[in-house]
């Protein structure tokens, strides 16, 4: 597996995520908007803890350690 292939898969995933965001903005589609996904996660009694801990870990991992 070459690094070019790995980067290509990452690029496809990034495009898919971006495409999902655009798709969710259409008026009558079967996919929730990112803000609705965030609201669902942040309003769940367990998921909101996972969400916050994940955000904290991401920041610590990216910027401090």
């Amino acid at each position: 597996m070459s690094s070019a292939f790995v980067y290509a898969v990452w690029a496809v995933l990034a495009v898919a995520l971006f495409g999902a965001v655009l798709w969710s903005r259409a008026s009558d589609v079967s996919i929730a908007r990112p803000s609705a996904v965030l609201e669902r996660l942040a309003s769940g009694p367990v998921l909101r803890v996972v969400l916050v801990v994940g955000w904290m870990f991401a920041g610590w991992h990216l910027f401090a350690r």
Binding site: M1, A16, S30, I31, R40, A42, R48, G59, F63, R65
Partner: protein
């Protein structure tokens, strides 16, 4: 916004594994923890997106996409060989962070996401008036 941008620029000038980086990263983490405790209801009501007429699982596509991203990250992390051959999200972020301006942008987005998380979980009354979101008991 301006304060956030300035803070992100200051944080971007720090080096990882330094006390300055620890401090400037720990402050937003602490602020988010306090804000969540203060603004979030103790017993939240799960809010689900109001589905379109034909939509039965509005979150399915997101779950699948994030599962694929997580699986690919794990495969690359566990793959034998150098990180250059098997880049992960972390290693790509490290490359982005080599420029202070790009690092500041990433730091700003991270803080903005923290604010969005706190706002998304904050109590709303009445729930039925939310924008495209309906209330459901957990």
């Amino acid at each position: 916004m301006l304060v956030g941008a300035g803070y992100a620029l200051a944080a971007a000038t720090t080096s990882p594994f330094s006390w300055q980086a620890d401090l400037l990263t720990a402050i937003p983490i602490g602020v988010l923890a306090v804000a969540a405790v203060m603004r979030w209801p103790a017993r939240p009501r799960v809010r689900v997106a109001e589905p379109a007429a034909h939509a039965t699982h509005p979150y399915r596509a997101w779950v699948v996409l994030l599962a694929v991203v997580a699986a690919w990250e794990i495969v690359q992390y566990a793959a034998p060989g150098s990180r250059a051959l098997h880049p992960t999200l972390s290693s790509m972020a490290d490359a982005v962070d080599r420029s202070e301006l790009r690092k500041a942008a990433v730091f700003f987005v991270w803080m903005w996401l923290g604010v969005a998380i706190v706002r998304a979980g904050a109590a709303r009354t009445p729930v039925s008036e939310t924008d495209g979101v309906t209330g459901e008991t957990a």
